[in-house]
């Protein structure tokens, strides 16, 4: 049993960190996990991304063509990963930076105004945690508590003052639930 998660956005949106946090939480919960930054042909195109695979057995390939889950933090990432999510999978969209509708009807979609929520919390940079929170409440591969605990245990000490803000961002994001878009 394994879950593949791709997190994609512009460089600087914290997609690599969001993936690492998931990896830490998976490890702390006794699961197998791989984290790999953008590699191969998908390097082109100005987006940063990482693939996290969480499983209960030795993980084979660290990359997949069709992930179970995609978190897209900007429009180019939506264009790229919307067609690739497995049927029945989950697409979490940063609605703040995406100016089009999602076309797929065979996947679950969560639209989260992650930048607005982050700005309301006081710091635009936690939009990645809002997205992660939204993912966790819709694809409970790990509990919100497990990820919060991983953040407490692995956040560098110089960033420790940012902990409450990041936890709040996770919790705000977790309030958004997926909808199965209906055909028009």
């Amino acid at each position: 049993m394994q879950t593949e998660i791709i997190i994609a956005g512009f460089g600087g949106q914290g997609v690599l960190f969001a993936g690492q946090l998931l990896a830490y939480a998976a490890m702390d919960n006794g699961l197998e996990v791989t984290w790999i930054p953008s590699y191969g042909p998908e390097m082109r195109g100005g987006t940063a991304n990482c693939t996290v695979i969480i499983a209960d057995e030795e993980i084979g390939s660290p990359i997949v063509r069709n992930p179970q889950v995609a978190l897209v933090l900007n429009r180019p990432s939506l264009d790229k990963y919307e067609p690739l999510v497995k049927p029945g999978g989950l697409l979490v969209v940063n609605a703040s930076l995406v100016d089009r509708n999602v076309d797929r009807r065979d996947i679950r979609t969560v639209l989260v105004p992650a930048n607005e929520i982050a700005e309301n919390l006081g710091d635009r940079r936690v939009a990645n945690m809002v997205m992660l929170g939204a993912m966790l409440s819709n694809q409970p591969v790990l509990s919100l508590e497990a990820v919060t605990k991983a953040m407490e245990e692995h956040l560098l000490s110089r960033h420790r003052n940012l902990l409450p803000l990041n936890v709040a961002a996770l919790q705000e994001g977790a309030k958004y639930l997926a909808e199965q878009l209906q055909s028009a």
Binding site: M27, V33, I36, P37, Y39, I59, G60, S61, I63, R65
Partner: protein
């Protein structure tokens, strides 16, 4: 021992430190640079030697000098940088001093790119520097193995006075996985009787790769060969998955091996009796085990991230006792499990042939899209 999340390059660096690495010399190159960067911080804090040399040539010759003192010494690089080190590696082999080399392979030939590939197989396993020598080559496919094999590389290099190479690709260098780091081993306090560490109070020792008198060079060549025969007899390592009842076997090393594992599992879920054979030492190559497997199975599929370099070793090992097929992605493109699964299905449904070369059949398939 708790599991921690390690990035491949950094895991190898820390494993080397814990194996008793006393001196590191290197030159930065992607996708290996984190290894050097980490040691630039770590070695001085332990009072050990770290030098970023002026070039790969400088680095490998500093390794040569340090190796002659009998300490544990290492360098690391990626494909183009490894090419630059070949002359020094040959001198080290000819002088019969131990060292560890890490090659984090990228797309090539030439400058190529910084994406993961396995195109250095022939250079590391069969070629490289001039003259008659063979390195021990260990090919990890996950981060725990990268740690364990790095530690082992130091032991093997020392035991056989040989070059031990840890051969991986850029994806393994860059990815993170949980792994257990073994405890720090104490630095060695005694040195072998060939090491040059100052000759006060004893007769001087000379270490060199020069044997101007051919019979003496012949003797040196035979000495190196006899050590190699011991390595072949004692140090072959591999891992098998689902082989007990397998009628077909996929063969892949390093990252290609772990990608193939995903495909093999997916095939098993569909009831296809396929297993995976993953060489861990690609030099010495697990000839005998593959030869035995060849009598038990209906066919092999070799998967690589090069145009079939290890394929030739598999063909040699199984001596025509089973049909072989081949699949590869090249130039920094990683194979996907879905692609390998398609190849497994093709192999297990279409009639297999012993005619022609597997590489040629693969090329023909590539050129005519389905």
């Amino acid at each position: 021992m708790a599991r921690e999340l390690w990035k491949g390059n950094i895991a190898i660096a820390e494993a080397a430190v814990r194996a008793g690495l006393e001196a590191y010399f290197g030159y930065p190159i992607t996708p290996q640079t984190e290894l050097l960067e980490y040691l630039a911080m770590r070695m001085p804090e332990l009072g050990r030697v770290f030098v970023q040399a002026e070039s790969e040539l400088g680095a490998i010759n500093m390794v040569y000098g340090a190796a002659c003192t009998g300490v544990r010494v290492m360098t690391s690089s990626s494909s183009p940088g490894i090419s630059l080190m070949m002359e020094g590696l040959s001198y080290i082999a000819g002088t019969e001093v131990p060292m560890v080399l890490v090659d984090v392979m990228r797309g090539g030939p030439g400058l190529g790119n910084i994406a993961p590939a396995q195109g250095d197989y022939n250079q590391i396993v069969h070629g490289g520097g001039h003259g008659d020598y063979r390195p021990i080559v260990l090919a990890p496919s996950n981060i725990q193995e990268a740690i364990d094999l790095t530690m082992l590389a130091f032991d093997l290099a020392e035991a056989y006075r040989a070059i031990a190479v840890v051969l991986l690709d850029g994806s393994l260098g860059q990815m993170m996985e949980p792994a257990e780091m073994p405890p720090m081993r104490p630095l060695k306090t005694t040195y072998p009787d060939w090491a040059v560490r100052g000759a006060i109070g004893r007769e001087r020792r000379v270490l060199s790769s020069i044997y101007l008198d051919p019979p003496l060079e012949e003797e040196a060549n035979l000495r190196i060969l006899r050590r190699w025969q011991q390595i072949e007899a004692n140090e072959v390592r591999y891992k098998g998955y689902y082989l007990e009842d397998a009628r077909f076997v996929v063969v892949g090393f390093g990252t290609a091996g772990r990608v193939a594992l995903s495909a093999v599992r997916a095939a098993r879920a569909e009831g296809i009796p396929v297993g995976l054979f993953r060489p861990i030492t690609v030099s010495p190559f697990p000839d005998q085990v593959l030869r035995q497997l060849a009598d038990q199975v209906e066919g092999f599929l070799v998967v690589e991230m090069n145009t079939g370099q290890m394929l030739e070793d598999v063909l040699r090992a199984i001596e025509g006792h089973a049909p072989v097929e081949f699949f590869a992605r090249l130039g920094g493109v990683m194979p996907l499990p879905e692609e390998v699964l398609d190849e497994i299905k093709r192999m297990t449904t279409a009639p297999l042939t012993m005619d022609g070369h597997p590489r040629e059949r693969w090329l023909q398939r590539m050129l005519q899209p389905a």
